[in-house]
Amino acid sequence: MDIWQWVHDIDPELRRGGHVRLADLIRRIPSATVDDHHDRVDALAPEALALARAAGLPWVEVFVRHWHLQSRVLHRCQGDMALGEAVALVDYAHGEAARGCPQAVCTVQDLAACYSQVDGPGWARERADVSRETLARIDPTWPCFTCISCEHAGALREQGDPQAALEFLDAQHKQLVAAGQGREGTSLLPERISCLIALGRTDDALAACEDAIANGRRDESQRRARQIDLARIYARLGRGDDALRHLPVPADILPTPSHYDPYTDALVHLVRIGAWPNGFELGRLLQRFIARLQLNGSHRLPFDIAAAAADLAIQRGSPEVAALHLAAMERLAARLHRPGSAPERLAALRLSLETALAQPRGERPDDPEERLRDCVAADPAAVAADPSAHARRHAAALLDLGFAREAADLLERHVDAHPDDDDAVELLEVAYRHAEDDDRHRALGERLLASADPAKQRRGRWVSARRHTRARDWDAANRLLAQLAEDPADALAARLAHAGNARQQRDWPTVLRLVDEALQLQPDLAPGAYDWDRMVAATFLGAWDRVRHSAARLDMEIDGEGPIDLRWELCRIRVEHPSGKRQDLYAARTGPVTARILQISRIDQPQRLFDQVVFDARPLGSHEDDDGQPVYLYAEIDPLHRAGYRAFSIDGVHPGEAALGDLRRVVQAHRGSFQVQSGDRYRLTSPAGEERPGLYAFAAFGPDADLRAASDALAAVIARLGDPLVWPELAAAAGDDARAQQHRELARAWML
């Protein structure tokens, strides 16, 4: 069964059935995958899956899930991380719902690939069995024949027999030729290149690589993979310049972990021939590879890369970095399914590390690795004199080199012994975030909280409160901050942190109380963001004296007492309508955090004209007015006073400037506001087909306006005009049903 033929056939079928979007998606997901646009795959896949399920198309569901796994497993090397989905997909694809699905075999390959990411050589025997089993069920006309053949050859190679793998590929190629599918043979080339490199047949590998570039797949992922292969080959041939010309820059391959291992191999060989500097940047790059792969639940690949990184570190006189890699490798080795050569490699590394550490310390450039070395080799007496400074310096050096987990380990030990070291605790939290390890972050907070030592408890409260704040678990965070506030040492900081949370919760009484308390505790506290928060809270609560107090602290003296309603500059306020839609409206600032809206807002939502609002004084942006003065845009927090206006549209043929002035005066006479919305480009066509300039305007009236009188007065202005202007909603609100009906009919006739 040709899956691409199936995709080709199902496309018009889906489109006919109204599933146009799904048809587009099932074309885009594979191309985004093979072009290394994995963010896009993640963005597309959930929608495609939901559409396939809603349409009741199990084969399409298998297709989408399979391709999402291709991106996650084959390209991003997710091992343990993707195993659950890989197993579930094989189960689903072989179940009743998806019976006969042509991609069922591919889901088996996904599962095998997942194990190869976990531990390729360790699971090689099982992977070879599975691919043999699958190959027995298909023939060379299936497009997956070449993929599964490569998977089988890869398993043989990783079992340590690249020659057998090569012979197998030759046999498969013959089968393809015999079946008239000779051109598909190029799909076997990538694995062939790996085998030839493993066998040391570098010239043959170069020829195969050139063949693959000329005749093989041209997607971005394959293109980059071959560029890396070329660099590996040229480096082995001693042709450094050629290798460097082809090697992609690290930024291009970082999103795609499947390139990490061959890329490392290329770098190792480039260093060997002196074409790439063996400096700390190289070490940092490799450590990024290792950390990402470990997070993905891959064990063998980071083991191998760490081994290479350790050798390079020893070569450049950084045995301390090599020791870190050795420790990581020991942890990884314990998780391998079958260790294979891992124990010997560990033993060899231990030996060369011991030798390196026994050497006298040589001259090295002053770089982050050197700073790490200083920390490791620090004089114990000096460390004992200031253990906190030492631990922080050591952890910072580790973080700088990408060893976030190691930094966290070190700081955890330090914090257990020195719970009062606030800076170390905060650095530890940074390390957890770098290591993407929320579980340990939570555990630290809980462990410290559970301690009998009050100092540790206090630290635990801070750690947990910050973590809860970050997760927006306000109640949990605030409870801890309230406890902290009782301790004189934390009274101020905990109150201000709590006030910050209360600000986000819009709990204005709490904001005001806490900032007031903080200012009582320390009246000379430098003015800051909490003063703005306090003014917002105090404005809502009518505590105008506190608004004035904080304003004065911020060098804004406001005279008088009671409500503040001044005439300050023009600004714009971003309001949020009940529908969730936002609108930026011109407004006059009336105080430090208040403004009055001057512009009629959307008429399908409650009207905001002349509302007095409280805004967040951090500008969202600004533009310049005609005089070059900045007009700032602020976000409304909540209205302070609703003016209760209602606004209506006036639509139709432009009545000329004189009549327009009359309309405006009528509205103003009813203490309303009239604002033209349309420009020159608004044109209307009469029922007879003639074009006229149009007018679209809003008229807003206060809650006590006599709408009937206003509507009648407007009608009097346009009575003498030949062409219509209509305001059906205003007429209806005024209780004039006859006019409302008449205006609706005109609107229909003029297609308003």
Binding site: H37, R40, A43, P46, V87, V130, A471, R472, D584, L620
Partner: protein
């Protein structure tokens, strides 16, 4: 009249014509482009070689009745010798020689193939030419195939050349003046010499490229840019424009514009005109634009890009990559500037392309920073900015991957909290990144971690836990005491999907449908799953019915109608949560139990008030 001299081109052209006609050039208009380019180079040549002043001009005239197309120039013209040497020898264009001599970047021609393309579309080609070197001699070259040609003296004409094509029937479209004008406008937009069509007084390329207009007033500059974009854009109204200027490693210059037409997230309407030495080389070089920019078109020029032999595509060399990188940079910078300086246009960009920008923000960190608070995400309450979703969720971002109308949606609607529709393009990765960068938590409903956040566990003495468990759970269900909103909801049942998977994979039936090797690998995984529990029952300690049940636990047993009603409710909420198949099967039993409980309550006399 002199007898024409018959000579032969020294190449068998038959095969070459086929190659040109069928493979190299995709449309007959490409031949037109080649001829205009020759005319241009001829004018440049004259400027370089002829000290006399002249007004360079190119004019293209068609005659639909006669089926002819003529391209005239006021350039250098050709001598007899030059006709033989350059017009009739493949691959030996004079332009290349001239460029080598003068190092002039104004010259376009490259391969010496341009003139021959005329024979792809014409049955007969006539060239009348007067060289500046011999202004008194005018010659007429004629050929039917390019293989054999004649040269004879002709009636005198001013210095310059006219190439007249007698079009093949299938290429008569080239003799339509308006089509011709439209094409030339695209081809010649950046050509420095004026190109006229028919009797036009105004050249099709009279308006210079905006980046070549020095120091225009900002408002005028904006109009110029939009006009230029409108002239080149065939499908969309341009909404706003972005300049592309030279950056490190490239000489690229040009203009990009954003379409004023709504797109869906993955629509790819990218289009890019690429000009090399003033001539359009590729009118669909979309790959030079970033893949996320499906809502952008543009026109750029660069002398460093190298055309392929077909002259319609570009070589993917380092210069190409540098141009692509420069365009991506310019686009990101330009979008930032629009946001800052053209708020109205920016609002429209956001309105039109919200979905596409969600995807774009995931591809480029700077765009994410620019767009994080501007874009809306689809939610159960309509499209909302993340700030709104977050605030209505008390700082948390709830997201669901379940189909619409599920139990979660009902629950959150009751709470008036919007839930991000994670199944829509880009929504879930975008909110995840937002939370990661800006703080906050994404709670994915229906996942184990998400449930823990939605139904936070609460302490309950062991005896009360056991009591509730006895009253409410069935075998395989685990009771978790929790407190959650709304308090009106007494309990929620959440199935454990991994346990279900384990049951299926480890059943004997699986061996019948899955090959043994694969099944072995699957069971390696499921062996590690704890399947003692197949669903978690979250019981809400804030619910009055649960509170009452606990208060009266000493006097209540499993047969109490209140307990029966709650147990029936478990089956009902499980049914609504679409996945708890086991409970759903028990729905019938639950309904029966519910009915009996109601009967019992009805039969119980109400205490007198």
């Amino acid at each position: 009249m002199t007898t024409p001299e018959i000579l032969a081109t020294q190449v068998d052209l038959f095969g070459l014509m086929t190659v040109l006609g069928e493979h190299l050039y995709s449309t007959p208009f490409v031949a037109l482009r080649e001829l205009v380019q020759n005319a241009h180079d001829s004018c440049v040549r004259r400027r370089l070689e002829d000290p006399a002043a002249f007004a360079p001009e190119i004019r293209v005239v068609c005659d639909p009745a006669a089926g002819t197309l003529a391209v005239s120039d006021a350039g250098a013209g050709l001598t007899r010798d030059e006709i033989v040497r350059y017009l009739a020898t493949i691959g030996a264009g004079y332009t290349r020689k001239l460029r080598e001599q003068h190092g002039s970047d104004d010259l376009i021609g490259l391969f010496g193939l341009g003139f021959l393309s005329a024979f792809v579309i014409a049955t007969r080609v006539a060239v009348t030419t007067t060289s500046y070197q011999s202004p008194d001699t005018t010659l007429l070259y004629q050929s039917r195939s390019g293989e054999r040609f004649s040269i004879e003296p002709a009636a005198s004409r001013p210095v310059g050349t006219t190439v007249t094509l007698h079009l093949k029937d299938n290429f008569r479209e080239l003799s339509d003046e308006s089509a011709l004008r439209a094409r030339l406008l695209h081809y010649c937009a950046l050509l420095p010499l004026p190109v006229f069509v028919g009797d036009d007084d105004v050249a099709v390329n009279a308006q210079p490229a905006p980046w070549r207009v020095p120091d225009a007033h900002p408002a005028r500059a904006r109009t110029l840019r939009l006009d230029f974009a409108r002239r080149l854009e065939r499908r969309f109204e341009p909404l706003c424009t972005i300049d592309v200027g030279p950056r490190e490693g490239t000489d690229v210059r040009g203009l990009l514009w954003i379409h004023d037409a709504a797109t869906y997230g993955t629509s790819d309407n990218r289009n890019l005109h690429v000009y090399v030495r003033g001539m359009l080389l590729d009118d669909d070089a979309r790959e030079l634009l970033p893949p996320w920019a499906g809502f952008v078109s543009g026109a750029i020029e660069s002398a460093k890009l190298t055309p392929t032999a077909s002259r319609e595509d570009l070589q993917r060399d380092p210069a190409y990559r540098a141009v692509a990188a420069a365009i991506a940079e310019a686009l990101v910078d330009g979008m930032k500037q629009i946001a800052e300086r053209e708020p109205e246009a920016w609002r429209r960009v956001l309105l039109r392309h919200n979905e596409a920008l969600l995807g774009a923000a995931l591809c480029d960190d700077r765009l994410f920073e620019l767009l994080a608070d501007e874009l809306t995400v689809p939610t159960s309450e309509g499209d909302l900015p993340i700030a709104v979703v977050q605030r209505r969720g008390q700082g948390k971002l709830y997201a669901s991957l379940s189909p619409r109308g599920g139990f979660e949606e009902v629950l959150f609607r009751a709470l008036r909290v919007p839930v991000v529709v994670g199944t829509r393009y880009g929504a879930l990765p975008f909110v995840r990144r937002h939370a990661d960068r800006r703080g906050g938590a994404v709670i994915e409903l229906g996942t184990a971690a998400g449930n823990k956040r939605v139904f936070p566990p609460a302490d309950l003495p062991a005896d009360q836990q056991a009591f509730l468990s006895n009253m409410l759970t069935r075998p395989g269900q685990r009771l978790i005491a929790a407190r959650f909103a709304p308090a009106e909801l007494p309990l929620v049942l959440v199935p454990d999907r991994e346990a279900e998977l384990k049951r299926r994979v480890e059943s004997d039936e699986a061996a019948g449908r899955i090959a043994s090797g694969a099944l072995g690998l699957m069971r390696m995984f499921t062996a590690k799953i704890d399947a003692s529990v197949d669903a978690d029952l979250y019981v809400n300690l804030d619910n009055p019915a649960i509170v009452r049940l606990l208060e009266q636990r000493a006097s209540i047993d499993a047969g109490h109608p209140g307990v029966k009603l709650l147990r029936a409710l478990v089956a009902f909420v499980a049914g609504a949560s679409e996945a708890a198949a086991n409970e759903a099967e028990g729905l019938h039993t639950a309904l029966a139990e519910y009915g009996r409980a109601v009967c019992e309550l009805l039969d119980t006399p109400r205490p007198a008030r």
